[in-house]
Symmetry: C2
Subunit: 193 residues, 2 copies
């Protein structure tokens, strides 16, 4: 099983690493396991990534960029803020559900010193999108005059919680639609209705 195309090997390594990091966590997924799953030798693995940290970070970076790009795209040309909130919610949660591997990987090893800065940047960017939507909603008079930053944090927290739920209680997930509805309408009865 020799003489492969280099980039293809690298790709197989990344795939295997994502799978194993996700299932076992950073510490318990050993380089040997990853090499094995990728159909390459241990030495070969180190030919493509200079060490375990680099492998992990490369993985994270590429997947998170992809994630961010998609959510951004899905919202950018929706005019109605209420609809945009819903869309952002739905896209994010669906993506998370479909890519459990990434989610597991990123949720786990939380206190990791060496991936933290990257994650923070990612979160800030995502929260920024929500803030823009809220500001737009307030400007156009559709939303109440809430504290934009606080509210964005809260909404983002719902998403983060959902993502965590995927890991801990996969069969206790709520529907994105119901969630959008609660965020928009609240729990209290409307005066009129």
């Amino acid at each position: 099983m020799n003489k492969r195309s280099g980039i293809e090997s690298k790709k197989r390594i990344i795939d295997a690493a994502l799978r194993l990091f996700s299932e076992y966590g950073y510490s318990k997924a050993s380089m040997r396991m990853i090499a094995n799953a990728a159909g390459i030798s241990i030495g070969g693995l180190y030919l493509h990534f200079k060490n375990k940290d680099e492998l992990y970070l490369t993985l994270m970076k590429s997947k998170m960029d992809d994630f961010a790009g998609r959510t951004m795209d899905s919202v950018k040309d929706i005019a109605d803020p209420a609809e945009a909130i819903n869309a952002f919610m739905t896209v994010t949660l669906d993506y998370a559900k479909k890519h459990k591997g990434l989610i597991l990987l990123q949720g786990r090893e939380l206190g990791f010193t060496f991936g933290l800065e990257m994650k923070r940047k990612f979160f800030k960017k995502q929260r920024g999108i929500i803030e823009d939507i809220i500001r737009c909603g307030i400007r156009t008079g559709i939303f109440r005059k809430v504290n934009v930053r606080e509210t964005a944090k809260i909404i983002f927290s719902v998403i983060r919680g959902f993502v965590l739920s995927i890991v801990v209680e996969p069969n206790a997930l709520f529907s994105p639609e119901e969630c959008g509805s609660l965020i928009l309408n609240g729990l209290l009865k409307r005066d009129g209705k």
Copy 2:
């Protein structure tokens, strides 16, 4: 530093373990480190806990029981559902903020097979409290007729997200009050106002 009271040693071990598990995670906090921090020998550690798993689980169990008890107490004799939601939120989030160690410990190592069942039970119980409050709110006509289970999941998800935020972005936390307000009132402008 010999001849201690046994239970006191055990207590020191638990303290040290919580601190080190929290800071370094399950895998990277070694039994030697824990023994060291507890001021006991490696062998002595195994006198009190038969292995690393047991130490971890004992820790988790005791802290989670404490957590559950406190949140339960804080809500049980508040009549107004809206107020109860707020109280539950505040107490839970404050507790989480005050006990970062526990939170880190429990958020980290998410995919752990051997602690999962316990965690699920804990979450279910907590969600049950919220469900009761919502049901009460609907019955008394204060809340809209929402899907109780779904809504409870969502609210719980906010909490879970907050808890995660403590770890990842400690200075990007929202206020429990603002959060309660959003959940109760929603984002859309009220008809009357």
